[in-house]
């Protein structure tokens, strides 16, 4: 299976940011083997230039960079079905959704 490359943009340490980070971590650990994904987290407060380069307006924003084509998901990732759909994966039912 082709490796997934993901980039998550968050804004500082607020609740949406925390929620997205932890949700995403759990999701990838559930879905992927350790080697099968790359996850980069960008804080737009520290790297506005990278946010500019990728024309990010909203946080959190999650880009699936690979496999192509590039897909963009916005929001704090609390809707797991939507996240899975956006990433093009199946997620297993977790104990704490």
């Amino acid at each position: 299976m082709q490796a997934f490359r993901l980039r998550l943009f968050v804004c500082g340490d607020g609740p949406r940011s925390e929620s997205a980070r932890s949700t995403l971590r759990r999701l990838v650990e559930d879905v992927f083997d350790e080697d099968a994904y790359e996850l980069e987290i960008v804080d737009v407060l520290e790297h506005p230039d990278i946010a500019e380069e990728h024309r990010v307006l909203v946080t959190p924003t999650l880009d699936r960079l690979a496999p192509g084509p590039v897909r963009r998901i916005v929001g704090d990732l609390s809707d797991l079905d939507a996240v899975a759909q956006g990433l093009g994966v199946q997620h297993r039912d977790g104990a704490d959704r």
Partner: protein, 514 residues
């Protein structure tokens, strides 16, 4: 309307202003936009919000060395750069110099963006902050924020985040404009109630359709704590110049009240006027076609002193025709042009709308600096606009002329040959200082011509109607008409005069019965 002697004082009242550099706008706002605040510009699609935004930043850089950030929510930067070129602003040059920074907040039409929960606009705010730092911006534009609402699912959240952004802009002490869209020229100020975030400073732009003519107007709905002119002002988008607002006001009531007289070019007419026209007068010459309005204009223009200049706008005749006419009356326009004392601009009225004509005239005046301006005829321009538009044009023009202390002579064509005031007369007559009427007089089976000075504000004048003829020396004034009434009103009729009165000192055979 604040009388002039007050408006100077009012400049210092309320919030300090940032001059925008947009011509006419700084006048109607008495100084520009509130410094360090955010002003909303709202209007229907195509009402020139983006043009205003581009001009605002470009003028900041060009006139005041104030750098700027342009956040665009609808159009891509490449399209904006192209737009700006048409307006005369070279954005890439500003960008290379580190004076202009785009933040591209536009959305590609991407149906696949999935929404998964709560969000904020932290990335946008951070990017804007960063851009302000990059160029050390004084001015910021957020153009098209309405688009944010169409792309994001939670309007309440978007509004809350915009509020946060406004606060951040105030913290950064930039002077900003935000543009938003509305669906109609009246009613709801903007979609999604963006004005609630910017309640204090609201400007409305409109692109009205008036009698099949388009009229662009700008209205200062509210400017927090600061006096400003009320109502809608026409403006024009001029290629190479950007936005030009036409401030129609009675600021011309600042009269230096000069007593200095200038010659009309006809010595006897000067006498009738009590010494000549006033140097900063607005003079209306009204008459039917063929009564000699162009002739009067020619005399006026020719009489400009050697060390001054006259500017003539002709909308009914070509330059060669005017020169030929003038020669036939003994005046040499070509030599005056060679000497630099005369400039003739001849155009069909249809070449532009009224606002454009006004700006073109103003540009010519600014460039050529005449002391005399003549427009022959103002009535020819009436067809270029709606009735309201024409009135505003006349107000704007005379206002401008008075501010520059120029003597302005305008001709007006009456609709029917025997007189009756024209539409132009109705618009202009209260603003004018001098009114000269030229009328046909039908007597004894002949058409003769009569001139009268109807109004000479501030001066005694000859109130009689004098006959005149046109010779190879131009206008020749003759004796007053006698025993003919109703000339001015357009229905001359002879009065029956008893023979004793008739022969008592009557000059020539004017108006005698039989």
């Amino acid at each position: 309307m604040i009388p002039t002697q007050y408006h100077e004082a009012n400049r210092h009242v309320g919030v300090p202003k940032l001059p925008t550099g947009i011509e006419g706008f700084d006048q109607v706002t008495y100084g520009g936009l509130p410094v360090g605040r955010v002003t909303l510009i709202t209007g229907t699609p195509g009402s020139a919000k983006t043009t205003f935004s581009l001009h605002f930043l470009a003028a900041g850089i060009r006139e005041f060395e104030q750098t700027g950030v342009y956040v665009t929510f609808e159009e891509r930067p490449a399209d904006l750069r192209a737009n700006a070129t048409g307006l005369g602003f070279d954005i890439p040059v500003f960008e290379d110099a580190g004076e202009w920074c785009f933040v591209d907040a536009s959305y590609d039409a991407d149906p696949d963006v999935v929404n998964t929960g709560d969000f904020d606009l932290g990335a946008l705010i951070s990017r804007i902050d960063h851009a302000i730092d990059q160029v050390d911006a004084t001015r910021v534009v957020l153009d098209g924020v309405t688009a944010l609402f169409s792309h994001l699912p939670d309007a309440r959240r978007v509004r809350g985040e915009l509020h946060r952004l406004m606060n951040r802009l105030r913290e950064r002490e930039v002077t900003a404009i935000v543009t938003a869209e509305r669906s109609a020229d009246e009613g709801e100020l903007s979609h999604y109630g963006i004005e609630e975030l910017l309640a204090d400073n609201v400007v409305i732009v409109r692109n009205r359709h008036d009698d099949e003519k388009r009229r662009r107007t700008i209205e200062l709905l509210k400017l927090r704590g600061a006096p400003h002119q009320k109502g809608e002002f026409p403006f024009s988008v001029m290629p190479g110049q950007g936005i030009v607002v036409i401030p129609l006001s009675a600021i011309q009531l600042v009269q230096s009240s000069t007593e200095v007289r200038i010659s009309s070019g006809v010595a006897e007419l000067d006498e009738m006027c009590g010494g000549g026209y006033y140097r900063d007068a607005v003079i209306l010459v009204s008459g039917a076609t063929g009564t000699g309005k162009t002739l009067t204009t020619t005399h006026f223009v020719s009489a400009v002193p050697d060390d001054e200049r006259a500017l003539l706008f002709a909308f009914e005749e070509s330059r060669p025709q005017l020169i030929r006419n003038a020669r036939g009356w003994g005046m040499d326009f070509e030599r005056m042009e060679d000497d630099g004392r005369l400039r003739i601009v001849a155009n069909y009225p249809e070449v532009a709308g009224l606002e454009e004509h006004l700006v073109l005239i103003k540009n010519e005046i600014d460039a050529y600096r005449p002391t005399r301006l003549a427009i022959d005829s103002l009535s020819a321009l009436e067809r270029s606009g709606s009735v309201r538009g024409f009135r505003e044009f006349v107000l704007g023009l005379t206002s401008f002329v008075k501010q520059h202390q120029i003597a302005g002579l305008f001709t007006s064509t009456t609709r029917n040959l025997l007189g009756n005031p024209s539409v132009t007369d109705a618009h202009i007559s209260t603003i004018t200082d001098h009114i000269i009427l030229l009328r046909y007089v039908e007597t004894a089976g002949r058409m003769r011509r009569g001139l009268t000075v109807l109004k000479m504000r501030g001066s005694p004048h000859d109130k009689r109607i004098r006959e005149y003829t046109v010779t190879e020396s131009g206008l020749q004034l003759g004796p007053p008409f006698q025993n003919v009434a109703g000339v001015v009103g357009g229905t001359p009729r002879q009065q029956i005069v008893p023979p004793e009165v008739e022969h008592a000192g009557a000059p020539t055979g004017d108006g005698q019965p039989g």
